[in-house]
Amino acid sequence: MGAEEVYNRIPMLRAERGVSRKELAAALGVHYQTIGYLERGEYSPSLYLALRIAEYFEVPLEVVFALKPFPRLGSEVKR
Protein backbone atom coordinates (compact mmCIF):
# COMPACT_ATOMS: atom_id res chain seq x y z
CA MET A 1 0.00 0.00 0.00
CA GLY A 2 2.86 2.37 -0.85
CA ALA A 3 4.00 4.68 1.95
CA GLU A 4 1.08 3.72 4.22
CA GLU A 5 2.48 0.95 6.36
CA VAL A 6 0.38 -0.45 9.20
CA TYR A 7 1.90 -2.91 11.66
CA ASN A 8 -0.23 -5.48 13.42
CA ARG A 9 -0.17 -8.20 16.04
CA ILE A 10 -2.82 -10.43 14.53
CA PRO A 11 -0.60 -13.56 14.33
CA MET A 12 0.32 -13.18 17.99
CA LEU A 13 -3.28 -12.65 19.09
CA ARG A 14 -4.41 -15.65 17.03
CA ALA A 15 -1.70 -17.84 18.53
CA GLU A 16 -2.62 -16.77 22.08
CA ARG A 17 -6.25 -17.61 21.55
CA GLY A 18 -5.73 -20.69 19.38
CA VAL A 19 -7.65 -19.20 16.46
CA SER A 20 -6.81 -20.28 12.90
CA ARG A 21 -6.81 -17.89 9.98
CA LYS A 22 -9.91 -19.54 8.57
CA GLU A 23 -11.77 -19.27 11.88
CA LEU A 24 -10.89 -15.60 12.17
CA ALA A 25 -11.92 -15.01 8.55
CA ALA A 26 -15.27 -16.73 9.08
CA ALA A 27 -15.91 -14.69 12.23
CA LEU A 28 -15.11 -11.43 10.42
CA GLY A 29 -16.87 -12.38 7.18
CA VAL A 30 -13.78 -11.97 4.98
CA HIS A 31 -11.84 -14.35 2.75
CA TYR A 32 -9.18 -16.26 4.68
CA GLN A 33 -6.47 -15.05 2.29
CA THR A 34 -7.35 -11.49 3.31
CA ILE A 35 -6.28 -12.38 6.87
CA GLY A 36 -2.98 -13.61 5.45
CA TYR A 37 -2.41 -10.39 3.53
CA LEU A 38 -3.33 -8.38 6.64
CA GLU A 39 -0.78 -10.27 8.74
CA ARG A 40 1.97 -9.76 6.20
CA GLY A 41 1.21 -6.04 6.04
CA GLU A 42 0.36 -6.34 2.34
CA TYR A 43 -3.12 -4.99 2.97
CA SER A 44 -4.26 -2.26 5.34
CA PRO A 45 -7.80 -2.80 6.63
CA SER A 46 -10.57 -0.26 6.56
CA LEU A 47 -11.46 1.38 9.87
CA TYR A 48 -14.55 -0.83 10.07
CA LEU A 49 -12.57 -4.06 9.62
CA ALA A 50 -9.86 -2.90 12.01
CA LEU A 51 -12.47 -2.16 14.69
CA ARG A 52 -14.12 -5.52 14.12
CA ILE A 53 -10.78 -7.30 14.51
CA ALA A 54 -10.12 -5.46 17.78
CA GLU A 55 -13.65 -6.27 18.94
CA TYR A 56 -13.18 -9.95 18.09
CA PHE A 57 -10.00 -10.20 20.16
CA GLU A 58 -11.57 -8.02 22.89
CA VAL A 59 -8.63 -5.62 22.97
CA PRO A 60 -8.26 -1.91 22.17
CA LEU A 61 -7.50 -1.00 18.56
CA GLU A 62 -3.98 0.21 19.39
CA VAL A 63 -3.10 -3.23 20.79
CA VAL A 64 -3.73 -4.75 17.36
CA PHE A 65 -2.56 -2.04 14.96
CA ALA A 66 0.14 0.64 14.98
CA LEU A 67 1.88 2.97 12.58
CA LYS A 68 5.30 2.05 13.99
CA PRO A 69 6.71 -1.43 14.56
CA PHE A 70 5.68 -2.97 17.86
CA PRO A 71 8.56 -3.24 20.37
CA ARG A 72 9.93 -6.70 20.99
CA LEU A 73 8.52 -8.41 24.07
CA GLY A 74 10.75 -7.72 27.04
CA SER A 75 12.57 -4.81 25.41
CA GLU A 76 10.74 -2.35 27.66
CA VAL A 77 11.72 -4.11 30.90
CA LYS A 78 13.68 -1.70 33.04
CA ARG A 79 16.84 -2.87 34.74
Partner: protein, 196 residues
Protein backbone atom coordinates in the same frame (compact mmCIF):
# COMPACT_ATOMS: atom_id res chain seq x y z
CA UNK B 1 -19.43 -8.30 6.12
CA UNK B 2 -22.08 -10.16 8.12
CA UNK B 3 -22.92 -13.47 9.71
CA UNK B 4 -24.12 -14.64 6.30
CA UNK B 5 -20.72 -13.84 4.80
CA UNK B 6 -19.04 -15.71 7.64
CA UNK B 7 -21.25 -18.72 6.99
CA UNK B 8 -20.36 -18.52 3.31
CA UNK B 9 -16.63 -18.63 4.16
CA UNK B 10 -17.19 -21.72 6.33
CA UNK B 11 -19.16 -23.36 3.52
CA UNK B 12 -16.40 -22.68 1.00
CA UNK B 13 -13.80 -24.16 3.36
CA UNK B 14 -15.96 -27.32 3.64
CA UNK B 15 -16.42 -27.51 -0.13
CA UNK B 16 -12.67 -27.79 -0.60
CA UNK B 17 -12.67 -31.05 1.39
CA UNK B 18 -15.31 -32.75 -0.77
CA UNK B 19 -14.85 -35.10 -3.70
CA UNK B 20 -16.01 -34.62 -7.29
CA UNK B 21 -18.89 -37.08 -6.86
CA UNK B 22 -20.15 -35.04 -3.94
CA UNK B 23 -19.90 -31.82 -5.97
CA UNK B 24 -22.05 -33.32 -8.71
CA UNK B 25 -24.80 -34.10 -6.23
CA UNK B 26 -24.87 -30.55 -4.89
CA UNK B 27 -26.46 -27.54 -6.50
CA UNK B 28 -23.36 -25.33 -6.51
CA UNK B 29 -23.65 -21.62 -7.27
CA UNK B 30 -21.18 -19.79 -9.51
CA UNK B 31 -19.55 -18.28 -6.43
CA UNK B 32 -19.17 -21.77 -4.92
CA UNK B 33 -17.57 -23.16 -8.07
CA UNK B 34 -14.97 -20.39 -8.13
CA UNK B 35 -13.80 -21.37 -4.64
CA UNK B 36 -13.07 -24.98 -5.64
CA UNK B 37 -9.44 -25.90 -6.19
CA UNK B 38 -9.72 -27.45 -9.64
CA UNK B 39 -6.32 -28.28 -11.16
CA UNK B 40 -4.50 -26.22 -8.50
CA UNK B 41 -1.12 -27.07 -9.99
CA UNK B 42 -1.86 -24.74 -12.88
CA UNK B 43 -2.06 -21.64 -10.65
CA UNK B 44 -0.43 -22.59 -7.34
CA UNK B 45 2.54 -20.26 -7.72
CA UNK B 46 2.94 -16.73 -8.98
CA UNK B 47 5.10 -17.96 -11.89
CA UNK B 48 2.38 -20.34 -13.07
CA UNK B 49 -0.33 -17.74 -12.69
CA UNK B 50 1.72 -15.37 -14.81
CA UNK B 51 2.06 -18.09 -17.43
CA UNK B 52 -1.75 -18.39 -17.37
CA UNK B 53 -2.11 -14.63 -17.75
CA UNK B 54 0.38 -14.80 -20.61
CA UNK B 55 -1.71 -17.52 -22.28
CA UNK B 56 -4.77 -15.28 -21.93
CA UNK B 57 -2.87 -12.36 -23.49
CA UNK B 58 -1.67 -14.62 -26.31
CA UNK B 59 -5.23 -15.71 -27.11
CA UNK B 60 -6.28 -12.04 -27.21
CA UNK B 61 -3.35 -11.25 -29.49
CA UNK B 62 -4.46 -14.06 -31.82
CA UNK B 63 -7.89 -12.45 -32.12
CA UNK B 64 -6.30 -9.09 -32.98
CA UNK B 65 -4.13 -10.82 -35.58
CA UNK B 66 -7.31 -12.43 -36.87
CA UNK B 67 -8.88 -8.99 -37.27
CA UNK B 68 -5.80 -7.82 -39.21
CA UNK B 69 -5.87 -10.93 -41.44
CA UNK B 70 -9.60 -10.36 -42.08
CA UNK B 71 -8.75 -6.88 -43.28
CA UNK B 72 -5.76 -7.79 -45.44
CA UNK B 73 -6.47 -11.25 -46.85
CA UNK B 74 -8.72 -11.94 -49.80
CA UNK B 75 -11.35 -14.73 -49.37
CA UNK B 76 -10.19 -16.33 -52.62
CA UNK B 77 -6.58 -16.62 -51.30
CA UNK B 78 -7.67 -18.95 -48.50
CA UNK B 79 -8.19 -16.03 -46.15
CA UNK B 80 -11.32 -17.60 -44.69
CA UNK B 81 -9.41 -20.76 -43.76
CA UNK B 82 -6.70 -18.74 -42.05
CA UNK B 83 -9.35 -16.83 -40.09
CA UNK B 84 -11.17 -20.00 -39.01
CA UNK B 85 -7.91 -21.70 -38.01
CA UNK B 86 -6.80 -18.72 -35.94
CA UNK B 87 -10.25 -18.59 -34.32
CA UNK B 88 -10.10 -22.29 -33.41
CA UNK B 89 -6.58 -22.02 -31.96
CA UNK B 90 -7.61 -18.91 -30.05
CA UNK B 91 -10.66 -20.61 -28.47
CA UNK B 92 -8.62 -23.71 -27.49
CA UNK B 93 -6.28 -21.47 -25.49
CA UNK B 94 -8.78 -18.82 -24.37
CA UNK B 95 -11.49 -20.96 -22.77
CA UNK B 96 -9.34 -23.04 -20.37
CA UNK B 97 -7.09 -20.07 -19.60
CA UNK B 98 -10.03 -17.85 -18.63
CA UNK B 99 -11.64 -20.65 -16.58
CA UNK B 100 -8.44 -21.30 -14.62
CA UNK B 101 -7.80 -17.58 -14.13
CA UNK B 102 -11.28 -17.16 -12.65
CA UNK B 103 -10.61 -20.01 -10.22
CA UNK B 104 -7.10 -18.74 -9.39
CA UNK B 105 -8.47 -15.29 -8.53
CA UNK B 106 -11.52 -16.80 -6.74
CA UNK B 107 -13.89 -14.98 -9.02
CA UNK B 108 -12.42 -11.58 -8.23
CA UNK B 109 -13.62 -10.08 -11.52
CA UNK B 110 -16.65 -12.28 -12.22
CA UNK B 111 -18.53 -12.28 -8.91
CA UNK B 112 -20.76 -9.52 -7.63
CA UNK B 113 -19.52 -7.30 -4.79
CA UNK B 114 -21.65 -9.06 -2.19
CA UNK B 115 -19.48 -12.18 -2.68
CA UNK B 116 -16.23 -10.24 -2.19
CA UNK B 117 -14.64 -8.71 0.87
CA UNK B 118 -13.17 -5.19 0.99
CA UNK B 119 -9.67 -6.30 -0.05
CA UNK B 120 -11.03 -8.19 -3.07
CA UNK B 121 -13.20 -5.22 -4.10
CA UNK B 122 -10.18 -2.91 -3.90
CA UNK B 123 -8.04 -5.31 -5.92
CA UNK B 124 -10.76 -5.59 -8.54
CA UNK B 125 -10.94 -1.80 -8.85
CA UNK B 126 -7.14 -1.59 -9.31
CA UNK B 127 -7.16 -4.35 -11.96
CA UNK B 128 -10.06 -2.70 -13.78
CA UNK B 129 -8.28 0.68 -13.76
CA UNK B 130 -5.09 -0.79 -15.25
CA UNK B 131 -7.11 -2.73 -17.85
CA UNK B 132 -9.04 0.43 -18.73
CA UNK B 133 -5.80 2.29 -19.46
CA UNK B 134 -4.55 -0.54 -21.71
CA UNK B 135 -7.88 -0.66 -23.56
CA UNK B 136 -7.75 3.12 -24.06
CA UNK B 137 -4.32 2.71 -25.65
CA UNK B 138 -5.63 -0.01 -27.94
CA UNK B 139 -8.59 2.14 -29.01
CA UNK B 140 -6.22 5.01 -29.78
CA UNK B 141 -4.06 2.65 -31.87
CA UNK B 142 -7.16 1.49 -33.78
CA UNK B 143 -8.13 5.10 -34.47
CA UNK B 144 -4.65 5.99 -35.73
CA UNK B 145 -4.58 2.88 -37.93
CA UNK B 146 -7.96 3.75 -39.42
CA UNK B 147 -6.87 7.35 -40.12
CA UNK B 148 -3.56 6.27 -41.71
CA UNK B 149 -5.32 3.62 -43.84
CA UNK B 150 -7.87 6.19 -44.98
CA UNK B 151 -5.30 8.90 -45.72
CA UNK B 152 -3.11 6.60 -47.86
CA UNK B 153 -5.94 5.34 -50.05
CA UNK B 154 -7.59 6.86 -53.08
CA UNK B 155 -11.19 7.89 -52.70
CA UNK B 156 -13.48 6.16 -50.23
CA UNK B 157 -11.86 3.11 -48.66
CA UNK B 158 -14.24 0.26 -47.85
CA UNK B 159 -13.29 -1.92 -44.88
CA UNK B 160 -14.35 -5.55 -45.38
CA UNK B 161 -17.38 -6.47 -43.32
CA UNK B 162 -15.69 -9.53 -41.79
CA UNK B 163 -12.78 -7.31 -40.66
CA UNK B 164 -15.22 -5.01 -38.85
CA UNK B 165 -16.84 -8.01 -37.13
CA UNK B 166 -13.48 -9.49 -36.12
CA UNK B 167 -12.30 -6.12 -34.82
CA UNK B 168 -15.44 -5.71 -32.72
CA UNK B 169 -14.97 -9.24 -31.35
CA UNK B 170 -11.33 -8.45 -30.52
CA UNK B 171 -12.30 -5.22 -28.75
CA UNK B 172 -15.14 -6.90 -26.84
CA UNK B 173 -12.94 -9.81 -25.72
CA UNK B 174 -10.20 -7.41 -24.65
CA UNK B 175 -12.66 -5.29 -22.67
CA UNK B 176 -14.13 -8.38 -20.97
CA UNK B 177 -11.04 -10.37 -20.11
CA UNK B 178 -8.25 -7.82 -19.59
CA UNK B 179 -9.23 -7.06 -15.95
CA UNK B 180 -9.06 -10.80 -15.26
CA UNK B 181 -5.62 -11.07 -16.88
CA UNK B 182 -4.32 -8.09 -14.90
CA UNK B 183 -5.68 -9.42 -11.59
CA UNK B 184 -4.17 -12.87 -12.28
CA UNK B 185 -0.81 -11.27 -13.10
CA UNK B 186 -0.83 -9.18 -9.89
CA UNK B 187 -2.00 -11.90 -7.50
CA UNK B 188 0.67 -12.68 -4.87
CA UNK B 189 1.19 -16.11 -3.34
CA UNK B 190 -1.06 -16.63 -0.30
CA UNK B 191 0.35 -17.74 3.03
CA UNK B 192 0.21 -21.50 3.61
CA UNK B 193 -2.82 -22.62 5.62
CA UNK B 194 -2.49 -22.99 9.38
CA UNK B 195 -2.13 -26.54 10.61
CA UNK B 196 -5.44 -27.46 12.20
Amino acid sequence: MSEREGARQVRWAELKKMSWSEYRQMNLSRADIMQLDMLPGWYATRKRRRWLAGAGMFSLALQWINAAVSWAAEPDDGGNWIILTLLAVMMVIYLPAVTLMNIATRGLVELTERHLDERQVGERLRATTIAHRITTGLLAACFVTAVVAGVGGEGDYVVPERAVIMLIVALAMTHLVLPLIVSTWRLPDPLPDDEE
